[in-house]
C-alpha cells in the first residue's frame, strides 16, 4: 500500500514531466532560433543608425573645421548659417579639435605642452628645451587655476627665476607671455649648458678656468702658438635669455695682442657664434691650439 502510493507518486510525476516535454516540443526549434536572429538584427540596425549619426556629425565637424581654418587664415568674420543649438554645439566642437591640434603641433615643434589636472582646477605645463636640433631636458610646471592663479610644484632649477618672471610678465592676466618668457630662459640656459658640454668634449686642450651652474660666465685659457703666450678669455652672458655672450674680453701678458686685427675678429666671432664652433674656427686659423 505504501509501495503502491509512492509508485503512484513517482508515476504521476513522470507523466507530468511527459506532458511538459510534449507541450514544449509543439513549439518548433526553428522558431526560437528565428526569434533570436530577429532580435540580433534589430540590435545591429540600432547600432548602424548610431554609427551613421556619428559619421554625419564627424563629417559636419570636418566641414566646419575646414571653414574655421580658412577663416583663421583669411581672418574673415564668422558666418552664422543657422543659429540652431546643434550647429552651435558643432561649432564649439570644431573649435575644440582645432585648439587640440594646434597644441599638438606646438608640442611637436618643441614648444610647451599643457594638460589639465585636478579636474580642471589646474594645468601642468611641459616645457621642452632643445639646442642645435637636439632635444635636451624637459621641465614641468604645475599651475593652479582655482581659486587663484598660482604656481604649484615644478622641477625648474632654483637659479631660473620663475617667480620673478611670473611677476614681470603678469602671469595672472597674460599666461602666454609668462610661458613664452620662461620657455625662452630655459631654452637659453639649456643652449649655454650644451655649448659648455660640447666645448669640453671637442676642445680638450682648452682649459675651462671658471663656469657656474647658470652657465652665465665662462673663463677660458687659450694657448697662442705664434706669440708663445696664453690668453685669458672671459665670456659674460648677462642676458640670461640668450645663448650668446653679451661681452667678450681678452687678457694677455702681451698688451698689444687683444688689439690686433686678428683678435678683434676673434672677439666678434665669439660674440656672434656659439662658443664651440667659434673655437673650432679659431683653431683652423691657427690662432689657438
Amino acid at each position: 500500500m505504501e509501495a503502491a502510493s509512492t509508485k503512484a507518486g513517482v508515476l504521476s510525476h513522470l507523466s507530468l514531466l511527459e506532458v511538459q516535454a510534449r507541450s514544449r516540443r509543439t513549439q518548433p526549434q526553428q522558431q526560437s532560433r528565428v526569434k533570436e536572429l530577429k532580435a540580433k538584427v534589430e540590435a545591429l540596425k540600432v547600432q548602424k543608425q548610431q554609427l551613421e549619426a556619428e559619421i554625419e556629425t564627424h563629417q559636419n565637424l570636418q566641414k566646419l573645421r575646414l571653414s574655421l581654418d580658412k577663416q583663421c587664415a583669411d581672418e574673415e568674420d564668422v558666418e552664422m548659417e543657422e543659429d540652431s543649438e546643434n550647429s552651435q554645439l558643432l561649432r564649439l566642437m570644431a573649435r575644440h579639435t582645432q585648439l587640440k591640434d594646434l597644441l599638438h603641433a606646438h608640442h611637436l615643434i618643441g614648444g610647451y605642452d599643457i594638460i589639465k589636472t585636478r579636474q580642471g582646477k589646474g594645468v601642468c605645463v611641459s616645457l621642452a628645451t632643445a639646442y642645435e636640433g637636439v632635444y635636451l631636458d624637459t621641465y614641468n610646471l604645475e599651475i593652479d587655476l582655482k581659486p587663484t592663479v598660482k604656481i604649484g610644484r615644478h622641477n625648474i632649477p632654483p637659479f631660473i627665476p620663475v617667480n620673478s618672471l611670473a611677476e614681470v610678465n603678469d602671469m595672472q592676466t597674460n599666461m602666454r607671455a609668462f610661458l613664452d618668457a620662461l620657455s625662452q630662459h630655459l631654452n637659453a640656459f639649456a643652449g649655454r649648458k650644451q655649448q659648455l658640454k660640447l666645448l669640453r668634449e671637442q676642445h680638450k686642450s682648452i682649459e675651462v678656468m671658471e663656469s657656474n651652474v647658470l652657465c652665465s660666465i665662462l673663463v677660458l685659457m687659450f694657448k697662442v702658438p705664434s706669440a708663445k703666450t696664453a690668453v685669458l678669455c672671459t665670456l659674460d652672458y648677462t642676458d640670461h635669455s640668450s645663448c650668446l655672450p653679451t661681452r667678450v674680453h681678452f687678457e694677455c701678458e702681451d698688451k698689444q695682442l687683444p688689439d690686433s686685427d686678428q683678435w678683434k675678429k676673434n672677439c666678434s666671432l665669439l660674440m656672434e657664434t656659439p662658443v664651440h664652433t667659434a673655437l673650432t674656427a679659431m683653431k683652423k686659423m691657427g690662432d689657438i691650439v
Binding site: 632654483p158 671658471e210 657656474n212
Partner: protein
C-alpha cells in the same frame, strides 16, 4: 671623523719621517690620483694633516648633520656674483667680524664652492680639528653648513649675506646626514614625476606574482597608485632624508576625552618620522596601498617645499620658528 681619530691621524703624520710621507701615502693607495697630486709635500706636517682631513670630509660628507640655509631678497647684482669676487668678499667680511679665523675656499667640478673655516678666538689660534664646512652654488639661494655652533652662526650668516649680495639669510628647515640628499632635494636634482598626456610606463619592480589572476585584477589600481605616489614623492632614487619632524601646537580634539579637549591652551607635541630613507618609505606606503592616495599634504610637503621641519598651528602649517638653532 671623531676627535680621537683626528688626533690619531695627527700623531701618525708626526711620527712618520718627512721623507717617508709621500711613499707611505702612495703605498696606502687610498687616495685618488687627483688628491695625491694636490698634496704638496714641501708644506709642513701640520698643513698636510689638515689637507688629509679636508679630503676625508669632502669624500665622506655624511659624517655629521648638514643644515640648509636660504638666502632671501637678492640685490640687483646677486646674479652676476662670480667666484673670485665671492672669495675675496667672503674672506674679508669674515675676517672683519672675527680676527683669528682660517678660511679655505675651493671650487669643485660640480660648480659647488666648498668653504672650510677653522675658528679661533682672541686667546687661541684657529682650531683645525673642528672646522665648519659650508657648501654653496653661486646663483642659487641655498647654503649648506655642518659643524657650526650657535655662537658662530651669526658671524657666518653676516659674511655670507654680504658676499653673495642678498639682504638676509634664514633657516631652511631642512637637515639630513647626507649632503647629497638635501642638495638634490633643494636643487631639484632627483626625478620628479608630473601628470603628462603621454603617460610613460612607470614600471613597478615589485614582481611578487603570487597569483596571476589577482595581479591582473589589481594591475590597473596598482599602476594608478604607483603613478600618484611617484607624483607626490618622485621616481627612482630619492634624496636620502633620515627624518621629518612635525611640531604640533594645535588644540586637542577628541570627543571621548573631555578633560583634554576642554583645555584652553594648545596641546604641544612633536611627531617624528625616522627611517634610513624616509622619502622612499613614504613613497612605498602610498604605492603599496598602505596609505591612501592622494596622501596628506603634510607628508608630500617634504619634497614639495624642500624641508623636513614643520610647525603646525591651528591656522595651518606655518613657517618654522626662525629661532631654531642647529643643535651641536
Amino acid at each position: 671623523m671623531d676627535d680621537s681619530a683626528r688626533r690619531l691621524l695627527q700623531r701618525l703624520i708626526r711620527r712618520i719621517p718627512a721623507q717617508m710621507l709621500k711613499p707611505t701615502l702612495d703605498k696606502w693607495d687610498r687616495l685618488t690620483a687627483a688628491h695625491r697630486q694636490s698634496m704638496d709635500f714641501t708644506e709642513s706636517k701640520w698643513a698636510l694633516t689638515e689637507k688629509l682631513l679636508a679630503i676625508y670630509v669632502i669624500e665622506n660628507p655624511d659624517h655629521s648633520m648638514w643644515y640648509a640655509l636660504q638666502l632671501v631678497d637678492p640685490e640687483d647684482d646677486a646674479h652676476s656674483v662670480e667666484l673670485t669676487q665671492f672669495k675675496e668678499q667672503f674672506k674679508s667680511h669674515l675676517r672683519e667680524l672675527i680676527r683669528h679665523v682660517s678660511i679655505k675656499i675651493k671650487k669643485h667640478t660640480d660648480e659647488a664652492v666648498w668653504i672650510r673655516i677653522a675658528w679661533g678666538d682672541s686667546f687661541s689660534r684657529p682650531n683645525h680639528l673642528k672646522p665648519t664646512y659650508v657648501v654653496h652654488h653661486l646663483q642659487t639661494p641655498y647654503v649648506f653648513v655642518t659643524s657650526l655652533t650657535s655662537k658662530l652662526k651669526p658671524l657666518l650668516s653676516q659674511a655670507l649675506v654680504l658676499s653673495t649680495r642678498y639682504q638676509a639669510i634664514k633657516d631652511a628647515s631642512l637637515s639630513a646626514r647626507k649632503l647629497t640628499a638635501i642638495r638634490d632635494l633643494l636643487m631639484r636634482q632627483y626625478q620628479q614625476v608630473f601628470p603628462t598626456k603621454y603617460p610613460s610606463s612607470l614600471v613597478e619592480n615589485n614582481q611578487n606574482a603570487s597569483n596571476i589572476l589577482i595581479n591582473k585584477e589589481q594591475a590597473e589600481l596598482a599602476a594608478s597608485r604607483h603613478q600618484k605616489a611617484c607624483e607626490a614623492f618622485g621616481d627612482g632614487m630619492l634624496p636620502q632624508l633620515q627624518s621629518a619632524v612635525y611640531k604640533l601646537e594645535t588644540k586637542f580634539r577628541d570627543h571621548t576625552n573631555k578633560t583634554m579637549t576642554e583645555r584652553e591652551e594648545a596641546f604641544r607635541c612633536v611627531v617624528k618620522f625616522a627611517s634610513t630613507n624616509l622619502l622612499e618609505s613614504l613613497r612605498h606606503c602610498a604605492s603599496s596601498g598602505i596609505s591612501s592616495t592622494p596622501g596628506t599634504s603634510l607628508l608630500s610637503s617634504i619634497p614639495l617645499k624642500g624641508r623636513n621641519y614643520f610647525v603646525i598651528t591651528d591656522n595651518g602649517p606655518g613657517p618654522s620658528s626662525q629661532t631654531r638653532q642647529p643643535p651641536n
